[in-house]
């Protein structure tokens, strides 16, 4: 179903289920059924070369599972991921810069590893010259290559992660909450760096975050997820100018407005239901102010043929032309 020649990644009807049943003996004695968690439940999107698609949603919506499916850390239970690029040139940046760097390796060795894997037999002098260059690119100094990860702050460690990702000469980067563990002033440094690198190296990002203001700054297209599905996908400016899905509006409403402090709000009630037993029909209907009978009985259909502007909501379909 390759419709777009400029698409670097196409995701079709992607599904990932996890077995969260009680152990076999408990099931036998307590007569409990098998239980399945649908972490990703029929997701479609494409990413164009050189662009950033952001997946945004709250914990448990399946956004990180998609990151792991795209990078091959999980196998899909259904659907397809088509990557029209060089698999070896797909890299990932993780949320926790403390856990993703080997504490026993010097930074120089950490950054050199993808290089050595990608081009075995590169002369040592060339490798170390390239490592120095990469460290400079991300705003560190070549002498930092001799230090260990614990000698760096969180923001510097995330720069090391980025340098390591760049060492693999990536064309596609999956970034899973790359700045969530960082302080805001450091977050700004890392986000600016990532934008600059994207422009210079023509990188494509799949950017995962729970923070809509970060996503607005980084993404060309935003997909909002709720309980394993994309509920709305729109180009960034349009999503913020005219959010369609009630859940998107809820998320936008929760962002504190720094230009209008001390606002009194009436936040939308309710919580995300358990993905093990999602509500019937549209999974958002128990929290939705627009819900009517059809939402409780029927699920909005996937419409994979529409790429950049769709909303999975019966109430919106009736009022808007999308």
């Amino acid at each position: 179903m390759s419709l777009r020649p400029d698409a670097i990644l196409e995701v079709d009807a992607l599904e990932r289920r996890f077995d969260v049943s009680a152990p076999w003996l408990n099931r036998l004695i307590e007569r409990k059924p098998r239980r399945t968690l649908r972490a990703v439940d029929g997701v479609d999107f494409i990413i164009r070369r050189g662009q950033t698609l952001a997946l945004v949603g709250e914990s448990g919506c399946g956004k990180s599972t998609i990151a792991k499916l795209v990078t091959g850390l999980h196998a899909p239970s259904g659907g397809a991921i088509r990557f029209h690029g060089d698999r070896d040139r797909l890299q990932m940046i993780f949320q926790d810069p403390y856990a993703s760097l080997n504490p026993r390796w010097r930074v120089g060795r950490i950054v050199a590893e993808p290089l050595r894997t990608l081009r075995p037999g590169t002369p040592e002098a060339e490798v170390s010259a390239r490592v120095d260059e990469l460290l400079r690119t991300v705003g560190l100094s070549p002498s930092d290559g001799l230090k260990f990860p614990h000698e760096f702050s969180g923001g510097q460690r995330q720069r090391i992660s980025i340098a390591r990702a760049l060492a693999g000469e990536p064309e596609f980067l999956v970034c899973d909450e790359p700045t969530s563990a960082l302080d805001v002033s450091v977050q700004a440094q890392v986000l600016n760096l990532m934008k600059r690198l994207q422009k210079e190296m023509d990188l494509t990002y799949l950017f995962i975050s729970h923070d809509l203001s970060v996503v607005r700054h980084m993404a060309d297209v935003i997909a909002v997820m709720y309980l394993g599905r994309i509920v709305e996908i729109q180009p960034t400016a349009d999503l913020f100018a005219s959010p369609l899905h009630p859940y998107t509006r809820l998320l936008l409403e929760t962002i504190p407005d720094l230009e209008a402090p001390k606002r009194d709000r009436s936040p939308m009630g309710g919580e995300v239901p358990s993905p093990v037993s999602p509500p019937p029909g549209c999974s958002f209907h128990p929290r939705c102010p627009l819900a009517f009978d059809r939402c409780r009985a029927e699920r909005p259909q996937r419409r994979p043929e529409v790429h950049d502007r769709r909303v999975a909501c019966f109430a919106c379909e009736e009022t808007a032309d999308v």
Partner: protein, 322 residues
């Protein structure tokens, strides 16, 4: 009678280590009035949590209050014994922490924990205390109280657990609540619910609140006044609308600029170069001067300080940095 609930004067918190004495909080003076929410904001290591812990009398040894005084409604509390402080905590000062599970005992039903706390701090009998627990649970927005009162903490979601912790903190009608990152572990849509709840309860009861967080957005939504901390010292104190809209201290201005805005279309986020110094390497003079574009000779020489509203910056205090 004055309506000042908390009065902190020249507080200094030190940690003696093998390498010398580290000053985590240095010369912090602030007050909170009845029914007022003071936001303490800063990046990790700025000393905001340490200030909260010192007020609660929960500094981990070898940490200690080296100088200064803390008064609660006129009574000096920093010189009390651990035993006396234990009585103050709960009865006169409530605490809410980031992770609700650390405040709840996993082995006891939430209703029993509430009843125990109420009976510890009031003269109510068992039945009355249980009725009070039910009222509190209803007040913090727990649905189906009759069923949930006998549930264990693990049967609640993160947001609901934090509501229980708020109910626990309110049990004895304390004069002051210290809330340390109460919404950081929660999803954005739940965050807004919890801050709205905290705001409503304090307004209704006239409780003074110290809200410690790294999230300027939460502060802007919730607090009446803000104290910005940097490297253990107060950088700026003022009404929330002033600090957010017209920050005086270059650090506050940088912090505000580095938050991705929902309105501006800036291609690059404003950055503060560098990172906050470590406690063992706090620069001479103004701790922010190595990162400050306005720094002059005076900033390298002398420490700017504030006792009330204003910015601890020579440029703001004297109009020049020469």
């Amino acid at each position: 009678m004055s309506d000042i609930v908390l009065d902190v004067r020249n507080l200094r918190v030190e940690f003696p280590t093998r390498k010398g004495i580290l000053t985590a909080v240095d010369d912090v003076s602030l007050t909170i009035r009845k029914g007022e929410i003071l936001g303490m904001v800063g990046e990790s290591g700025a000393g905001k949590s340490m200030t909260g812990m010192a007020i609660l009398g929960l500094l981990e040894p070898p940490g200690r209050i080296a100088s200064g005084a803390i008064h609660l409604s006129g009574d000096r509390i920093d010189t009390l014994s651990d035993r006396e402080m234990q009585d103050i905590r709960g009865r006169r000062i409530g605490a809410i922490f980031q992770d609700p599970l650390t405040s709840l005992n996993p082995l006891f039903r939430v209703g029993d924990q509430l009843v125990e706390t109420i009976r510890l701090h009031t003269d109510l009998g068992k039945a009355q205390a249980r009725a009070r627990a039910r009222d509190l649970m209803r007040e913090v927005g727990i649905p189906a109280v009759e069923e949930r009162i006998d549930n264990y903490p693990h049967q609640f979601s993160g947001g609901m657990r934090q509501r229980i912790v708020i109910a626990l903190a309110l049990c004895a009608e304390p004069e002051l609540i210290v809330a340390d990152e109460p919404t950081t572990a929660l999803d954005v849509s739940i965050q807004a619910q919890i801050t709205a709840l905290l705001k409503r309860l304090c307004r209704e009861r006239g409780t003074a609140v110290m809200l410690v967080t790294h999230d300027m957005g939460v502060i802007a939504e919730t607090a009446d006044r803000v104290a910005v901390m940097y490297a253990g010292r107060l950088a700026e104190v003022g009404a929330v609308e002033d600090v957010v809209r017209r920050p005086q201290h270059p650090y506050t201005a940088g912090l505000m600029g580095s938050i991705p805005s929902l309105r501006s279309e800036a291609e690059e986020l404003r950055m503060i170069p560098g990172a906050m110094p470590r406690l063992d390497a706090i620069p001479q003079g103004c701790a922010f001067h190595p990162r400050c574009e306005h720094a002059g000779p005076k900033c390298r020489r002398a420490v700017p300080r504030i006792d009330g509203p204003g910015a601890a910056c020579w440029l703001a205090l004297e109009g020049e940095t020469a």
